[in-house]
């Protein structure tokens, strides 16, 4: 019996473990380390209409149990992803979730429309929450009405289900979640990074060239758990949870909070084999805890 198989809108997952967007590139590097078909899905790096170089370096800084990044959505652009990256990924038996980003509604719509037609893209992840881009973006992730309208527009053009990625940098995450649900989102992914900064003791200036960046890693796990716990009780669409996951135990904690699948970000940098390791560890942990199937864990903290 398979303890890990999960069905979500657009996604038939062998297991609920997938690398988080931006922490796995387009899979090529990890493809050299293990078989990508072992993964539940892959959330590929944010794709924008045009290629982007992103921010100047340094782009990462370490913090206590976390890291800051300000990559700035570097990516080869829609054409590059459609013509090179997605076809390369077709050799693996793994659904792709395409992370879609932009500065204007039109950007999002354009990327969503085309990328959702790719054979192996089974769902979109609307990145309305990237803290590292200067123009426009922030309103999409922080004003419920704006997020709802964007979700609606993207839903209209997308050939596959649409998940919206929520930013934790808001006063009321439940309100944001409800807004995008009302806009037609098929699911939520949460959380993106917290806004943070580190200063250099010697220069007094920010370590990141972009000054501030997104905080990820174990440090933010309690914030993610709290938000998923609160949101999952108020919406009727599934949540893919993320934020500091490193172990099978963390995965179960996210399910208890209310997640139906999870993504692993920063931990891929610490241990590039972490995703297959978690997938391997989960069945035994479920046994120990007395569950037949991982889906029994979803929402147990409040059910």
């Amino acid at each position: 019996m398979n303890h890990l198989e999960i069905q979500l809108p657009g996604l038939h997952l062998k297991n609920p473990v997938m690398p988080a967007s931006g922490c796995f590139g387009f899979g090529r590097e990890f493809g050299g380390l293990y078989n990508l078909s072992d993964l539940g899905a892959i959330m590929i790096k944010a794709t924008t209409a045009e290629p982007r170089f992103g921010n100047p370096t340094p782009r990462v800084a370490e913090t206590a149990a976390g890291m800051l990044n300000a990559i700035g959505l570097q990516n080869p652009g829609l054409d590059g992803v459609m013509n090179k990256e997605l076809p390369w990924l077709e050799q693996f038996n793994v659904p792709i979730i395409a992370n879609v980003a932009g500065s204007t509604e039109e950007d999002y719509v354009e990327v969503a429309k085309r990328i959702s037609t790719a054979a192996n893209v089974h769902a979109l992840e609307l990145n309305i929450s990237c803290p590292n881009v200067k123009t426009g973006g922030i309103a999409f992730g922080t004003i419920p009405e704006v997020a709802k309208s964007l979700t609606k527009k993207v839903k209209e053009v997308s050939a596959v289900p649409v998940y919206v990625k929520l930013s934790p940098n808001v006063t009321n995450i439940v309100e944001m979640a409800k807004a995008v649900e009302a806009g037609g989102a098929d699911g939520l992914t949460m959380i993106n990074t917290l806004l943070g900064m580190r200063l250099d003791l010697k220069t007094a200036k920010p370590i990141l060239a972009n000054k501030s960046g997104g905080l990820s890693g174990p440090a933010i796990k309690p914030v993610a758990i709290r938000m998923i716990h609160d949101v999952s009780q108020q919406v009727n669409i599934p949540i893919i949870g993320m934020g500091g996951i490193e172990t099978a135990e963390d995965v179960i904690e996210f399910f208890y909070a209310g997640a139906s699948a999870i993504a692993v970000g920063t931990a891929n940098f610490v241990d590039p084999f972490v995703c297959p390791k978690i997938i391997k560890d989960l069945p035994e942990l479920l046994d120990q805890l007395g569950f037949d199937h991982i889906s029994e864990c979803t929402g147990r903290s409040w059910k």
Binding site: G25, G32, V60, E62, I71, I207, F269, V270
Partner: protein, 258 residues
């Protein structure tokens, strides 16, 4: 092939002021060949510190399944690393990146290895391999001051070695570039602070073969996170880029923007 392995500590000693030589044993030494590659070191299990640290491979001893890292105790991570003792293990991911292309030099040619501070270590393995190939090697090694000079004798046993210190407390007072002026050679392989690499590139890239090894803050070390990119020299403000961790850390001078 990239391997992740708990390597055991064969020895660790402070070879100069805050400079440590760490000899590790592990099967991944069998994957090491190219001088100038690096490994990504998880200093301690758990999350203090969280990220791996990139450290160049200073010496490969495949016969004994050993390799050497030389590093400066600098921040939190290297401080913890320096307190590790023989019999403990260190979590190593590697070997990573592309190193110095020794195939660009032929036996009988003269090569100049230019190192600055903590950029010196990878030049040791490089020099060994070049000498083995029959290349004449000259070393110019720059340090802050006498207290942090290391491996001078080891380099001397491979070829002429010139040491400079910024404060003049040892060797020639001044910068490596002051010494290089006096020497003749075919190719430069260099590793050290960006200011030094820039000076070397500006002076010699137009008429010599020059290779430089870069440093950049890294996330993954394997090419996935885009933390370590630099612009290519032919498109300095466009989309074209190289990753220091996988395309480098060694680049041909003029390939990327320093």
């Amino acid at each position: 092939m990239i391997i992740n392995e708990q390597c055991s500590i064969v020895s660790q000693r402070e070879i100069a002021d805050n400079i440590y030589e760490l000899i590790l044993r592990g099967e991944l030494s069998s994957q090491m060949n190219e001088p100038g590659q690096f490994v990504h070191v998880k200093i301690a299990s758990g999350y203090d510190p969280l990220l791996r640290r990139p450290i160049s491979i200073a010496n490969i001893d495949r016969e004994n399944h050993e390799f050497t890292l030389i590093y400066r105790k600098d921040g939190r991570g290297t401080a913890i690393l320096s307190s590790k003792k023989t019999s403990e293990t260190v979590d190593i991911l590697g070997p990573l990146g592309h190193g110095f292309p020794i195939e660009e030099t032929n036996a009988g040619e003269t090569v100049l290895l230019v190192g600055g501070g903590i950029g010196v270590p990878p030049l040791y393995e490089l020099s060994k391999q070049l000498v083995k190939k029959g290349v004449n090697v000259l070393h110019v090694l720059g340090f802050q001051n006498e207290a942090v000079v290391f491996y001078e004798d080891k380099f001397k046993s491979l070829g002429s070695t010139y040491v400079t210190t910024t404060d003049g407390s040892y060797g020639t007072k001044g910068f490596v570039t002051d010494v290089i002026k006096e020497l003749s050679f075919d190719t430069i392989y260099s590793c050290g602070p960006t200011a030094m690499l820039k000076a070397v590139e500006a002076e010699y890239a137009s008429h010599k073969k020059v290779y430089v090894s870069l440093e950049e803050r890294m996330g993954c070390g394997i090419g996935a996170c885009f933390a370590c990119v630099c612009h290519t020299a032919d498109d300095p403000s466009g989309f074209s880029y190289k990753k220091v961790c996988t395309d480098g850390p060694v680049f041909k001078a003029g390939e990327v923007v320093l």
